[in-house]
């Protein structure tokens, strides 16, 4: 039972539009005051106080990462720990892990297994259908009672229109969003049933032609979004498009928002920082789904972030073993690690003055909460003391050798910012040495 005081820290709290230097006082798991010039005498009792000199640092709500693949259940706790070190205080995991999250008991199991008040909260999406191409709906209602906060087939799209219509309709009834990986898998050649020799590997265009890799046309994304919007209107569901990556896809979402459709979307750092030219050396760290697109698409993602069409940024974390990545491009696994670079690469947008820091924090915290009907994180009196502390100005460089998960598409990338502390329910889930030395008892 102690107090912690974070002195002279810039508090950025999108929920109350606060961006001001204050002292933040935490008692147990709650913020009890955000005041100017805190004095010890203001407290009623004489319990020990840990005081941090935080001048020059920023406090914001913790990151809510709404797209994390953990691969296997065994990776769960490790992923939580690494997430905490990187400013993530809640994360939502996708159902395409082993075992698949397609029934209420496994949803319950994951949540019990991950329960630890000082580690990031783990939320789960339930699978929409029993298998990726299945025509059978999962027990959405029971999974939802067990805590599933949305439904999706994760890295696969829900393809069959009738099935999607029913899943959407059912999800609308129980007030849960449908999250779609928007890709026409017939067109991209990822539906093995329809093609024998063609399997999309990268964005289609000059680069795919030069490399002799099978292209996925960028319209594979918008085709799916356009159909889904019709079904979303028909069913009234909240429809969320995951990791949008194309100009056309974003344009259609922008228009649907104007038309009043209940639609939201997120993107991931690779799609606003990288383009298809990265693949020219066949580097499998860039083999992602959706694939890295053209430069024009990348610019469209940035515009979408700026004008609010894109609601959130998620890591799209999908760590892969080196064994599956040191392979010829066609044989290599798809995906890259993301939780360790989400904050840094998003801060690059701030550093390049593309968006304000307040906006960046919103994209990573309150907006994801809004999309998934989670409690809006807020740094305010009597609110839960879950927050992060970071230095927004310190130059940083991403080095794959210093990361705990692989691969990263951002090796060598320069940015600004460093997470110094992650507090969950008032407990220091992670404190960097640079912050530790600022503490005095």
């Amino acid at each position: 039972m102690t107090y912690s005081v974070f002195k002279s820290i810039k508090v950025i709290n999108p929920a109350t539009s606060l961006n001001d230097v204050s002292d933040v006082v935490v008692e147990n798991n709650k913020i009890i005051a955000i005041v100017k010039n805190f004095k010890q005498e203001d407290l009623d009792d004489k319990r020990p106080i840990t005081s941090y000199d935080c001048s020059g640092l920023v406090m914001s709500p913790g990151i809510i990462d709404i797209r994390v693949n953990i691969g296997k259940t065994e990776n769960l706790i490790l992923t939580q720990k690494i997430a905490a070190e990187n400013g993530i205080t809640s994360m939502v995991i996708l159902p395409n892990q082993t075992p698949k999250l397609n029934n209420p008991s496994i949803i319950d199991h994951i949540q019990r297994q991950s329960e630890n008040s000082s580690l990031p909260k783990v939320w789960v999406y339930g699978a929409a259908t029993k298998d990726d191409q299945s025509l059978e709906m999962c027990e959405l209602g029971l999974m939802s009672e067990m805590g599933a906060i949305g439904f999706t087939n994760g890295n696969k799209s829900i393809k069959n229109s009738l099935v999607l219509r029913r899943v959407m309709s059912y999800a609308a009834m129980i007030n849960r969003p449908i999250i779609q990986h928007a890709e026409d898998e017939d067109l991209s050649g990822l539906n093995q049933a329809s093609t024998t020799s063609i399997k999309g590997e990268m964005n289609e265009g000059e680069i795919s032609t030069r490399l002799g890799l099978i292209g996925i046309p960028s319209c594979a994304e918008v085709i799916m979004i356009e159909r889904d919007i019709r079904l979303a209107k028909l069913t009234g569901v909240h429809y969320h498009v995951a990791h949008v990556s194309t100009r056309d896809g974003i344009d259609v979402i922008r228009k649907a928002k104007k038309d009043g459709v209940k639609i939201s979307c997120d993107t991931a750092p690779p799609y606003f920082t990288l383009n298809e030219t990265k693949l020219l050396s066949y580097d499998t760290a860039f083999k992602l789904s959706p694939p890295l697109r053209s430069e024009d698409d990348r610019l469209a993602v940035i515009e979408g972030i700026q004008d609010g069409t894109i609601d959130a940024i998620a890591s799209d974390h999908r760590a892969r073993s080196k064994d599956t990545k040191i392979q010829p491009f066609s044989a290599a696994s798809i995906g890259a690690s993301g939780i360790e670079t989400l904050f840094l690469v998003t801060m690059e947008l701030v550093n390049k003055k593309i968006i304000s820091i307040d906006k960046a924090i919103s994209l990573l915290t309150v907006n994801p909460a809004n999309i998934l009907n989670l409690e809006i994180p807020s740094l305010d009196q009597n609110k839960n003391a879950t927050f992060i502390i970071f230095d927004e100005n310190i130059p940083s460089k991403i080095d794959k050798n210093n990361l705990k998960m692989s691969p990263t598409p951002f090796n060598g990338r320069k940015s600004f910012g460093k997470i110094l502390g992650t507090f969950i329910n008032g407990q220091p889930s992670f404190i960097h040495n640079d912050l530790k030395v600022k503490a005095e008892k």
Binding site: T195, T196, S197, E204, G205, E206, S208, T209, R210, L211, G212, L213, I214, G215, P217, S281, Y282, D323, I326, Q327, P328, F329, S330, A331
Partner: protein, 324 residues
């Protein structure tokens, strides 16, 4: 000093080309000068009595590692290496280690442990030879990787054309067939455009890759137009699995629109020559009579030139590696 150089100082025939890399992974990225020198050297080998002493590389160990079927390319490389006095070991890994789950990297490090001087690799996946180049200490020749490149084929095609017509500059060369899936087409496009030829690609729209014009070629969907006044017609093999399906309706339809017959050939330049990397599908991409017409078809010369071209490359890679 390199042991091979020492041995060869006495041999007046030894005159290797120096390249900018000790690997041959793709034509894309090679300079006009490098290509020219390799072709000149290959031309020299082609003119040489095949019993001449060209054993410049005694003790040089070549691993011919093929992850895909091949007869002519493998034999051609083997012959080239042997004529240079090298020791050649053929390793066929078709469907074997890949299916057994051994990673390519494990295969690569196993091979590396045998300390070869050169690895000649054919692999069904685009870019695979680059991976070998990253993890092995020896030189690598790409003998065909997926849909990416087949550099030695392009070099031997170029030598064949040069020897027949005398030049590459300003020639009109039509590459016809399944461009989308062809590594031969890509290597030829890069080589011929680098050397100043006008390259035209003719294919059904379903087999024409996206944005091909960006590679400085003209694209045609009508073969008559695409081969009009052409000096060289290069045909590509249509894989069996693509003869009918969603890429192409049927063999007979393909032959009607994209197969080379007398009538279409009459539109080309009067002395136009026909090339094919083999193996041919007679009656699909080419009328049988044309394939066997010695005044037109250079198909057998292509095979012959393969050995000379590969000798010049192996010699050059060894020289380059020991210079760097």
């Amino acid at each position: 000093m390199n042991k091979f150089l020492k041995n060869n100082q006495k041999n007046k025939l030894y005159s290797p080309v120096k390249l900018s890399s000790h690997h041959l992974l793709s034509i894309e990225g090679m300079t006009k000068d490098e290509i020219q020198k390799l072709l000149d050297r290959a031309d020299f080998f082609a003119n040489l009595d095949r019993h001449s002493d060209t054993k410049f590389l005694p003790g040089y160990v070549v691993l011919n590692v093929f992850f895909e079927n091949s007869t002519r390319t493998r034999v051609s490389f083997e012959l080239a290496a042997r004529r240079l006095g090298a020791e050649v070991i053929n390793i066929s890994l078709i469907n074997s280690s890949i299916k057994k789950g051994e990673s390519l990297l494990d295969t690569a490090s196993t091979l590396n442990a045998m300390k070869p001087d050169l690895l000649i690799v054919r692999h069904p996946h685009s870019g695979a030879p680059l991976l070998f180049a990253d993890y092995l200490n020896c030189s690598i020749i790409n003998a065909g990787d997926g849909r990416h490149e087949h550099p030695t084929q392009a070099l031997l095609d170029a030598l064949t054309i040069k020897r027949r017509i005398g030049r590459l500059e300003d020639l009109k060369i039509s590459i016809c067939g399944d461009i989308a899936n062809s590594r031969v087409a890509r290597s030829n496009i890069h080589l011929l455009t680098t050397m100043g030829a006008e390259v035209r690609c003719v294919a059904p729209s379903t087999l024409m890759p996206s944005n091909l014009e960006k590679l400085n070629v003209k694209c045609f969907y009508d073969m008559d137009e695409g081969i009009k006044n052409s000096d060289v017609i290069m045909l590509l093999r249509l894989q069996n699995e693509r003869m009918s399906g969603t890429e192409n309706p049927s063999e007979r339809e393909y032959f009607k629109f994209f197969g080379l017959d007398e009538k279409k050939l009459s539109l080309a330049s009067p002395n136009a020559v026909i090339m094919h990397p083999g193996p041919m599908n007679r009656g699909v991409e080419i009328a049988s009579s044309l394939a066997d017409d010695p005044s037109r078809s250079l198909i057998k010369t292509q095979v012959e030139m393969g050995v000379a071209v590969r000798m010049s490359i192996i010699e050059a890679l060894n020289f380059t590696k020991n210079q760097t």
